[in-house]
Symmetry: C2
Subunit: 332 residues, 2 copies
C-alpha cells in the first residue's frame, strides 16, 4: 500500500486554495536506527502551517514548495528503530500531512494506553492547551476578578483561553467573527460575553462588555482587532502576543500600534512562544485533564474525513470558517 | 518688585527657538486660603515641557499658548495660607517658569532643613531619580549580571539609570549623541560602555557592547534608536518605555516597530509613568540619598543663571546640547 501525501505545491496568494496543494502516492517509509515508522491516525491543522508556507515560521526550517506539509499527528507505531517504542503503541509526533511517516524517536512521545480520546492530544491536551494555559496564566498573569478578552474566541486556542479564564475566577469576553462563533463562545464555552467583530459598531460593543477595561488581552489575531483592544486596556493591563491570524494571509505588514498608547495605559506587552513552556507540559496537561474530566473544560473539534480532505479543510480554516480544533481523521 | 515670567508665546515648529517664548513682568502673587506665596530658587527644565507645548502631555491639562511655562521648582515660602507651611521654609512645588508663584499647599512638599543641596530635589532626589529607580528596578526588574542598555545616557534620567544598574550588579551600556556625552557616561557615571548613535556603524558597536544581548532596554528616546535595540534583545528581554525624546520635536508620528519582533525575542514591553510610583518616593529617595552621600551615585547639572536665560537653556536641552540635569538658578 502506498503512502498518501499532501505536498506543498504552490505559494498561496492571500487565502490558500486547494490548487496550492497536490496529493500524491509515495513509497511507504521504513524504520531505522532512531527512527519510528508510524501510521498517522489524526492530523492537526493550524494557522502556523500557513506561516510556514510563507517562509515566516521559524520552527519549520528547510520547509518549502515540494515538501510534505508539516503537522502534528497522533500515530501508531508500525516498526520501531528505538528501544523506547514498541509496535502498536500510540505516539504524538510530527507525522505531517500523510498517512504514514518515518519520524525521529527523539521527537515522538508515547501516549498512555487507556488514556483520554487520542485526538485530545492534538487539542486541549496538546499544543493548543499548553498555549492557552501557559499564555494566559504564566504570561498574562490574570487575577481573580480580572476581565480577560481573547480574540479568535471560537478557535482551538481562544476557546480554551476563555474557559481557563473563567476557571481562574475572571470574566471572559470573546471576540469572534459572526454570530455562530459568538454563540459557541457564550454557549458551549461559557464566556460571559462575545463580540462579533464583523458587526457594525463592534468596538462600542466590546467597550460595553468591558466596563472596567481589559486587564488581560490574549491576542490571537493582531491587526485592527488588536488596535481596537489597546485603548480599552485598564491601567496596567497586559497583552499576550500569541498569534496574528488576521495577517497570516497578508502579503504586506500591518502597521503596529503607536507605542505611546502602551505608555498611556501603563500596559505590559509580552511576546509568547509556546515552545518555551514545554518543560511545564505534563503539569499543565494534568490540570487540563482534570477539568476535561469533570466537565469544566469543553474541547470542540471540526473534523474532516480522510487525507484527501486535508487541503480543503485547511482552506476552510484559513478562511475563518471552522470552529474549535481543526482535525483530519486519517484512519477512516 | 515685579514677578518675572516666561510665557508660552508661539507653538514651536520642530525644535523650539527663543522666539517661541516671551518674558514679561507681572503682578506679584499673594497667598490665600490653601495657597502658598513662594519665591522660586531653582527651576527644572525637562523634555516633557516640550510635549506640553504640543498639547501631547496629559499631566498639564489646560496649559496652552499665553500661559506661564510649567515646571518644578525649589522655592522658599514667602507667605502661607496653610497651617502646614511657614514663611522661610523650603518647598518642592510646581512654581513654573517665573520668579514668584502662588501654588496650592496640597501640591507642595516641605524640604528638610539642613538636608542635601536643595537643587538635588529637582534631580537625583526628584522626579528624575524616582523615574530612574522605579523605571529600572520596579518596571525593568534587572537581575545581577544582566546587560542594561539606556538611551540618552548623558541625560538626567539616563545617567542615573546606568549608575543604578551598576549598583544592582548589572553591566550598564549607554547610548548617547556624540563623543563628549559618551565620555561623561563611561567616565563620570561609570558605565561599562557607551555608544555614540551619531557615529557610523553605531548599531554594530552596540551589538559588540552587548555580546549576550540586551536584558533590559530603558528607552528614553524611541524612534530609530529603539528600532536598533529591539533585535539585540536577549530572549525574554524587557523594554521600559519611559520617554521618546527623539519624537518630541516631531510633527508626524514615527512608525512603531513590528510587534512580531517582540514575539521573536519573547520580549516584555512595559509602559512607564513615574506618577504611578509616587507612593514609593520616600523609600526610593532614602536609597538614592545614601548612594549620593557615599559617592556611588553622581548627580551632574547643567545650570543657567537667571530666569531670562530659561528659554535659551530649554532650546539647548531640546537640541540635545545639555548634559545631566538641566536647571535654571533663579535667585542669582
Amino acid at each position: 500500500m502506498a503512502n498518501r501525501q499532501v505536498i506543498y505545491a504552490r505559494r498561496p496568494e492571500g487565502v490558500p486554495v486547494e490548487a496550492d496543494f497536490e496529493l500524491r502516492d509515495s513509497q511507504v517509509p521504513t524504520a531505522g536506527p532512531g527512527l519510528l515508522h508510524v501510521r498517522n491516525l489524526w492530523l492537526s491543522l493550524a494557522p502556523y502551517q500557513r506561516l510556514a508556507m510563507a517562509g515566516r515560521y521559524p520552527f519549520t526550517p528547510g520547509f518549502g514548495v515540494g515538501h510534505v506539509m508539516p503537522g502534528e499527528t497522533v500515530s501508531r507505531v508500525v516498526a520501531s528503530g528505538d528501544p523506547g517504542f514498541a509496535p502498536g503503541e500510540l505516539v504524538l509526533c510530527r507525522g505531517g500531512w500523510q498517512t504514514e511517516a518515518a519520524v525521529p524517536a527523539t521527537d515522538a512521545e508515547t501516549l498512555p494506553a487507556g488514556g483520554p480520546d487520542p485526538r485530545l492530544w492534538l487539542g486541549a491536551l496538546g499544543i493548543n492547551g499548553l498555549t492557552a494555559f501557559a499564555g494566559l496564566i504564566d504570561t498574562g498573569r490574570p487575577r481573580p476578578g480580572d476581565t480577560v478578552v481573547v480574540s479568535a474566541a471560537a478557535g482551538s486556542v481562544g476557546g480554551l483561553v476563555g474557559q481557563i479564564a473563567r476557571i481562574a475566577g475572571c470574566r471572559a469576553v470573546g471576540i469572534a467573527g459572526g454570530p455562530e462563533k459568538c454563540r459557541l463562545a457564550t454557549g458551549t464555552f461559557g464566556f460571559d460575553a462575545c463580540v462579533d467583530y464583523k458587526a457594525e459598531g463592534w468596538t462600542e460593543a466590546l467597550k460595553a462588555a468591558c466596563p472596567d477595561g481589559i486587564d488581560v488581552y490574549f491576542d490571537n489575531v493582531g491587526g485592527s482587532v488588536l488596535d481596537a483592544a489597546i485603548p480599552l486596556l485598564a491601567i496596567g493591563g497586559r497583552i499576550v502576543l500569541c498569534g496574528s491570524a488576521s495577517q497570516y494571509n497578508a502579503a504586506t505588514p500591518y502597521p503596529s500600534p503607536p507605542l505611546g498608547l502602551f505608555v498611556g495605559r501603563r500596559a505590559e506587552v509580552r511576546g509568547f512562544v509556546v515552545y518555551d513552556h514545554m518543560a511545564r507540559r505534563d503539569d499543565i496537561r494534568r490540570r487540563l485533564s482534570r477539568w476535561l474530566a469533570d466537565g469544566r473544560l469543553r474541547n470542540l473539534e471540526d473534523v474532516a474525513e480522510g487525507l484527501d480532505a486535508a487541503p480543503g479543510q485547511f482552506c476552510r480554516l484559513m478562511r475563518g470558517e471552522t470552529m474549535g480544533k481543526v482535525l483530519v481523521r486519517l484512519d477512516s
